[in-house]
Amino acid sequence: MTEVFDIFLLEAVLNGLLLGGLLALLSLGLNLVFGVIDVVWICYAELIMCGMYAVYYLHVQYHWPLALAMLAAIAVVALLGLILHVFVIKPVLSAEPINQLLVTGGVLFFLQAAATLAFGIEFKNLGVTLPSVRLGEMSFSGARLIAFGVALAGMVALWIFLSRSYLGTAIRAISQDRQIMPLMGVDPARIFSLTSALGGGLAGLAACLLVLQYDIHPAIGLSFGPIVFLICVLGGLGNMLGGFIAAFVFAQFIAVGGFFFAIEWGYVIAFAFFIAVMFWRPRGILSR
C-alpha cells in the first residue's frame, strides 16, 4: 500500500518537473523583455495564443508539415513582438509604468477580441496525439516530455547567446546602464527591437509546445497568462534565473498539491504560496 502511494507521489513530482520546464520557458520571454526594456508585456500569453493559431492554420488548413508550421509560427510571433514594440511600447517608453501596463493590457483584450472575430470561439486542436511513455507503473505524456526537452534546450541556447555573443552581452548591459550604450557604439533602439523579437520568438516556441497539449481558443491566454506573470513576480521580475527557479517551485505546488487533494486544489495552494511569498519578499525570491 505504501509502495503504491510512493510511486504515484513520485509520478506527481516528475510531472511537476515537466510542467516546471514548460512554465520556465513561458516566463523566460516575459522576464527577458522586462529585464531589458522595463516594460511588462501583460499581453504575453495572447502572443502565445496567436502562435498556437498560426501552427493550427498552417498545419491543419494549409497542410504544411508540422515542423515547418512551427518554425513559421515562431517567426510570426517574433514579428508580432517587434510590431508590439515599435507601435505600442515605443510611444509609451517614457510614460508612467501604470500607463505601460494599461496599454499592453489593452493589447491583451484587443488580441483576444480580434482572435474571436477571425477564428471563432470554438475550440480547435491539432489532432496530433503523441503516445504516452510508461515507466514502471508511472505514465508520462509524450507531449509533456517533448515540451520539457525543447524548453530546456531553448533556455540553454538563450543562455549561451546572452553570455557569449556581443549582441547578447549588449542585451545584458543595456539593462544596467541604458544611457551610455551609445558610447559603446550600440544603438539602444536596435537592441530593444532585437529583444522584442527575441521575446516574441520565445512566445512562439512556447506556442509550439502548448499546441501539442491543449486545445486552442481565443481566451486560452487567460488560463496560463496570470500564472506566468505571477511566476515572474515570484522569481523577481526581470530576473531570468529567479523566474526559472520560481517556475519549478510553482509547478511542484500545483502537481504535488493536486496529488494530495484534487487537481483544483493544486492551483489554490500554489496561489496561496504566492501570496505568502509576497508578504515575505515583496520583490520576489531573487530581486534584481
Binding site: Y166, R172, A173, Q179, I180, P182, L183, M184, G185, D187
Partner: protein, 240 residues
C-alpha cells in the same frame, strides 16, 4: 610650444549648449592636434562634462560646429561616433556593474570585433591587474580597478582620440597618483587625449596644453607650464 600647421584632429568652433532652459556652454572654441594631450580644467559645474558629451554626441549643440578628422560630427548619431575613432570614458566610470571586467572590455570592442583578441592583449599588457580580475563583476572591483577597466573599455575600440572625464574623481589619494601615471603612459604611447579634470595641479603635470573653463566659457588657454605659472590660476585653483 610646437605648433603644427596641418588641420587639427578635433576642432570645436564657437559652440554653445545646454539642457532645457539652462545654458552650460557659451561660445566655446578648442582644438586638439593628433598626438597631443590636452586638458580642460576648471571648477565643478564649469561645463567640462557637457563639453565631452557634446563631442561624443550624447547631446547636440545649440550653436557652433564640431569637426573631427576634417569631417563634421553634426550628422552622426551618438552610436556612430565611436566607429569614427572617438572613445569616451564617462564621468563616474559607468561600468556595467553586473558584467565581468572582461565582458565590459568586450562591450568596448562592440564595433571592432575582429581586433578583439589583439586589443584585449594590449589592454591586459597595460593593466595586468585587470587580467587577474577579468572574471570578477565590475561592480565589486575597487575604484582604481574600475577606472582602469573603464579606460581599458574605451581603448578596446582602438580610438584615435580618447576622452577622459575626471578619471581621478572619487578615488583615494594614493590611487589618484597611479591613475595619473597611467594617463601619462597612455599619452606617451601616442594616443591623442582630451582630459577633463578638477585636479588641476596633477593634470597639468601630465598634459602639454590646457584650457581653463569657467562658468561655461573658455577664459584662458596655453601650455601646461604657462597655465601653471598664471597668477589667477595659482590664486584661485592651486591655492598658492
Amino acid at each position: 610650444m610646437l605648433r603644427v600647421a596641418k588641420q587639427p584632429m578635433l576642432r570645436i568652433e564657437r559652440v554653445s549648449a545646454g539642457y532645457g532652459g539652462f545654458q552650460a556652454l557659451f561660445d566655446v572654441s578648442l582644438e586638439v592636434q593628433a598626438g597631443e594631450s590636452v586638458a580642460v580644467i576648471g571648477p565643478n559645474g564649469a561645463g567640462k562634462t557637457t563639453l565631452l558629451r557634446l563631442i561624443s554626441k550624447l547631446i547636440e549643440p545649440t550653436r557652433g560646429e564640431l569637426t573631427f578628422d576634417g569631417a563634421s560630427l553634426a550628422p552622426l548619431p551618438a552610436h556612430e561616433v565611436v566607429a569614427r575613432g572617438i572613445a569616451h570614458v564617462p564621468e563616474n566610470r559607468r561600468l556595467f556593474p553586473r558584467l565581468t571586467a572582461e565582458e565590459n572590455l568586450r562591450m568596448g570592442a562592440f564595433t571592432s570585433r575582429r581586433q578583439y583578441r589583439e586589443r584585449l592583449d594590449q589592454v591586459y599588457g597595460l593593466f595586468p591587474r585587470l587580467k587577474e580580475k577579468r572574471h570578477q563583476p565590475a561592480g565589486t572591483m575597487s575604484g582604481g580597478e574600475q577606472q582602469m577597466c573603464a579606460i581599458g573599455r574605451a581603448l578596446m575600440s582602438g580610438p584615435k582620440l580618447l576622452l577622459l572625464d575626471e578619471p581621478s574623481a572619487g578615488l583615494a589619494p594614493v590611487v589618484v597618483q597611479s591613475i595619473f601615471d597611467l594617463v601619462r603612459r597612455i599619452c606617451a604611447q601616442g594616443y591623442t587625449v582630451l582630459i577633463v579634470e578638477q585636479n588641476i595641479r596633477q593634470v597639468l603635470k601630465v598634459v602639454s596644453r590646457a584650457y581653463l573653463l569657467d562658468a561655461g566659457r573658455i577664459v584662458q588657454s596655453g601650455s601646461a607650464d604657462e597655465l601653471r605659472a598664471a597668477p589667477e590660476i595659482q590664486k584661485a585653483y592651486l591655492g598658492l
